[in-house]
């Protein structure tokens, strides 16, 4: 079933993969900025909103010795690849893959948002932007799934 091709039902007049792709690019830009800044030993600039420095320097900003933003880059690259591949092929499983991976990311982001608010007690606006983009990607993928004609179930 998941390898079957099903014509995508347009969302806002375009292929829904393009909407997912735009959200993936937004997430990729934000995560790339954070990764480059943090890997070069600096802290991201929050502008007039404070909190980025505290989150960036927090011990929770690393996972397995790597800044969490780097995992955000990897996730966004994979999600963007899935969205583009779905756009080109209409293979149903690629939509499900995008949905599943963004759901895993939402769990991670929920945990990181909890750390920012209740443990670090500082909120990084860049991180929140990424978290919102990921939540939107998950919700859009879910909406697209619900609206999408399903391939016939195999018996």
């Amino acid at each position: 079933m998941i390898t079957k091709r099903v014509a995508a039902r347009p969302l806002l007049g375009i292929h829904p993969a393009l909407i997912l792709g735009v959200l993936d690019v937004i997430g990729l830009i934000v995560a790339s900025y954070l990764s480059v800044v943090e890997l070069s030993g600096n802290v991201p600039s929050c502008g007039i909103i404070t909190g980025c420095e505290e989150v960036a320097k927090s011990q929770y900003n690393n996972f397995l010795g790597v800044p969490v933003a780097v995992f955000g880059v990897l996730l966004s690259v994979v999600l963007l690849s899935l969205a583009l591949a779905w756009w080109k092929t209409n293979i149903y499983g690629l939509l499900l893959g995008h949905y599943a991976l963004s759901l895993v990311g939402v769990f991670f982001d929920g945990w990181f948002l909890y750390l920012q608010v209740f443990v670090i007690q500082a909120v990084c606006i860049w991180c929140v932007t990424y978290e919102i983009s990921l939540l939107l990607r998950f919700l859009v993928a879910l909406l697209v799934y619900l609206r999408q004609p399903k391939p016939e179930m195999e018996r």
Binding site: E53, Q59, L96
Partner: protein, 268 residues
């Protein structure tokens, strides 16, 4: 209106009816077995797997949560205070310096740590030692207030630094504190670790202990922090160069050097 089952007249009719009923039952059972369960749909399986993976990742992060640093786990500062830099309590540099840099800082603040470890050492060697600039440290110990605990991890290291100042070791203690920064309100500056840091900075521990026990240094830190808020200094570090305020740490020493040069040239 009720539907009645025709009453079979003969034994053969009854037998035929029984066979038909069995056939219908078998067909119904076969169709039921062939209808895929909603629980076996790819979406449900994928959602379940994603939720499981997400929970495993969060659980792994919980299990690998970094512990508070131990007393034995101390890092010496990467720079030392030059012997030829005049020291007077929390002031470093000549009284005759044309430029005064007031640093409002919190030992728990990561941006203050960046300023202290990346920019201050070069400022000291390039501007303070030659007599152009004087650094004056002030407490704006806000970070500990976030958690409202009896032991304030911003006030206590600031008080420890003031106790070090009484022994002429403020700047050494300042460097040791920032070198051992490790998150906020997470135990990096708990009492036993502060004591170990004081040892590293070269303090007389007996004098340090009695100084910290009195409580007047903690009161002084709180009073100066309140003064900072009154003066609308509510971010750290806030750096005031000859009266001109800069909020936040400069990006790098080169940027800060431009500010210092301008202040030096403009000073009478």
């Amino acid at each position: 209106m009720s539907r009645t089952t025709p009453n079979p007249a003969t034994r053969q009719d009854r037998r035929k009816l029984e066979l038909e009923q069995r056939r219908d039952q078998r067909r119904a059972a076969r169709e039921k077995a062939q209808t895929p369960s909603p629980l076996r749909s790819p979406m449900v399986l994928i959602t379940g797997a994603a939720v499981l993976i997400g929970l495993v990742i969060v659980g792994f992060m919980l299990l690998t949560k970094p512990a508070a640093p131990s007393v034995a786990d101390l890092t010496p500062p990467s720079s030392e205070i030059p012997f030829d830099a005049p020291v007077n309590g929390r002031t470093l540099g000549s009284d005759q310096a044309k430029v005064t840099v007031d640093i409002w800082s919190d030992f728990q603040c990561p941006a203050c740590m960046n300023f202290a470890t990346d920019i201050e050492p070069l400022t000291i060697s390039s501007y303070v030692v030659p007599g152009k600039v004087r650094l004056v440290y002030h407490d704006a110990a806000f970070q500990g207030q976030k958690v409202q605990r009896p032991y304030d991890e911003s006030v206590e290291p600031a008080a420890a630094a003031r106790c070090a100042a009484d022994q002429g070791f403020f700047w050494q203690m300042h460097n040791w504190l920032f070198a051992n920064w490790n998150g906020e309100n997470d135990g990096a500056f708990r009492a036993d670790r502060l004591r170990a840091i004081a040892t590293g900075a070269g303090l007389d521990l007996a004098r340090y202990d009695s100084c910290m026990a009195v409580g007047d240094k903690q009161s002084a830190v709180r009073s100066e922090t309140a003064d900072a808020l009154t003066a609308k200094i509510n971010q750290t570090p806030t750096i005031i160069v000859n009266g001109v305020t800069y909020v936040g740490s400069p990006n790098n020493f080169a940027d800060f050097a431009v500010v210092l040069d301008q202040a030096y040239d403009a000073a009478p």
